[in-house]
């Protein structure tokens, strides 16, 4: 996983609540057996006027001129600004892979759906929660200033705006550490392999029926 320390990027506003993972990456693209290549189909149904299928050359498709990511002022955006309950719906990690593949390393919203929130951290993407008032101010600032960019300083837990405003944010200490160091969760867990084995041995004694008829 790529480390996340500070991120400086253009902010793109996606001004609707309950953005679901079906909207972030529609189902026809979930047939891929790889983790990469989802970026061109991020928000496919909003972003293009024609219907997307896997394997299409997206450069020949009809972009929806009204969709926010197609506006020239938001090209090369690295930070996505959203509304309540961002990432709700299916558990598909493809949603995070699509955001990352497109170029977003951070999503800022007043609230996130749990599974999406979790999936972000596993891929070096920072889901950042700010209270609704701060989000409203950011939407207004982004609308008002073409090319609006911010810096997210994860070690300091601060956002720096062009107006020199500093917005502090909260992040779980363990997840922050994993992001900053780019740590692989599995390797960390396997450091506790002996504890897992001991737990399992006890469980076999306490609940033997879980083991005597497993899926052999």
């Amino acid at each position: 996983m790529e480390k996340f320390t500070t991120l400086d990027g253009i902010v793109a506003p996606l001004d609707r609540p309950n953005v679901d993972t079906d909207a972030i990456i529609p189902k026809q693209f979930l047939k891929s057996i790889h983790r990469t290549g989802f970026g061109p189909n991020l928000f496919d149904e909003w972003r293009y006027l024609d219907r997307g299928e896997p394997g299409m050359d997206n450069r020949t498709r009809q972009p929806n001129p009204e969709f926010v990511l197609n506006l020239s002022r938001y090209q090369d955006a690295g930070i996505l600004l959203g509304r309540e309950n961002f990432g709700c719906g299916s558990s598909r990690e493809h949603a995070v892979w699509a955001l990352l593949d497109y170029g977003f390393r951070a999503v800022i919203a007043p609230s996130f759906a749990d599974i999406f929130f979790n999936n972000c951290f596993k891929n070096g993407v920072l889901p950042l929660v700010l209270e609704a008032g701060a989000i409203n101010k950011l939407f207004a600032a982004v609308e008002a200033t073409p090319g609006f960019r911010m810096t997210i300083d994860l070690p300091a837990q601060e956002i720096h705006t062009p107006e020199q405003e500093i917005i502090p944010f909260e992040v779980d200490a363990f997840r922050k550490d994993c992001l900053i160091r780019g740590l692989d969760d599995i390797a960390l867990t396997l450091e506790h392999a002996a504890a897992i084995r001991a737990f399992e041995a006890q469980r076999r004694l306490d609940a033997p029926w879980l083991y005597d008829n497993s899926t052999e």
Partner: protein, 470 residues
Amino acid sequence: MSGKTLYDKLWQSHLIREDEAGTALLYIDRHLVHEVTSPQAFEGLRLAGRTPWRTHSILAVPDHNVPTTNRAAGIADPISRIQVETLDRNCTDFGITEFSMLDERQGIVHVIGPEQGATLPGMTVVCGDSHTSTHGAFGALAFGIGTSEVEHVLATQCLIQKKSSNMQIRVYGKLATGVSAKDVVLAIIGEIGTAGGTGYAIEFAGPVIEALTMEGRMTVCNMTIEAGARAGMIGVDDTTIDYLSGRPYAPGADHWEQAVAAWHELVSDADAGFDREVILDGGALAPQVTWGTSPEMVTPVDGLVPDPDAEQDLVKRDGMHKALEYMDLQPGTPMTAIRPDHVFIGSCTNARIEDLREAAAEIRGQMVAPGIRQALVVPGSGLVKQQAEAEGLDRVFTAAGFEWREPGCSMCLAMNADRLEPGDRCASTSNRNFEGRQGPGGRTHLVSPAMAAAAAVAGHFVDIRKTAGG
């Protein structure tokens, strides 16, 4: 000291370690796997030179991509075929039990787990699918995970988790005839909202929940995720234990009594405290129909499409306008005036035998209305299909003009060939009415199986409480 909730008990009995900040390592008993969210996890495992920690905790099945017609011909879409074949190969390579596409036990992962007795009380159950909450109906801690977590469970038999808060939703009273578990859970989502359960594990309780069959309880727990909570659960009682008795993967005779004694402990203590409690009058519930593009956009069938301009919250109001535009509906329209042109009976929410019986009862001896262009029944598993055929339900459906299909996720998410075209309007027993969920531009109204069947016959939504009473 207050007692423990069911969730507290399940959490503590699987806890391997926990640091001061509450980051915990949780042991996983059962890992269900399907073709869409697993290939990258197996690839990651191989790249790191790892193997599954406990192969026999895993049960795999292809369900999202499989065709629902002419299985013998294989999968026509080459990309779907590769994904299903990749699951087959991964299961062969690692020695994992899989019910492959042509196995009679194949079906939707959340239907076959309980059907096989592979989901048991007291287990932690995970799957790379948000509707894993279904299995909580058995007094299990069951939740959906992403692909990185699938790989993590494969490699370590554990997950890194933080404990959720406790919520209890009690539904009292007695449901009216024609009102089902689906209506209960849709009403709950309408009440607390799609983010109402975020950060919570939800326990469903009260007389209405206790009176539900296991299949009804699964329907309720299934849609917990649509209320924002990863895990929903219901305490164990005799209904739970009776359901499990004799299932293929349930405990054998030598451990049955011991297991049952342990399972009876899987209820919240009488003095347990919850961080949030919600109470609903089940007796006051009408059949529910969604009108928008989020499951919380739901109203009783005798209600009207709401007026966004009456909503005070500006973000919500804008969301309602967008939803009505997408759904092509006018505020103030009676729900019973809405005319679907497609009907889908299926999905992990409502494709079990009781769902098919309830739907068949609404259409017996009648025909699908002329305005219905397609009506599909997709059983949840091969065994559900067999049972339905043994009861003659398939003939009730086909005589009425429904298509009787092979088991799978089908038009719930339209990853296979079953999908809506732009502008199609569907009465669906599935769980999500998001934009494009059942096919790009398709419009979904979520309802119970009996409501979907009644709409198929009438050509519009009907209040089945009135027809049920005569």
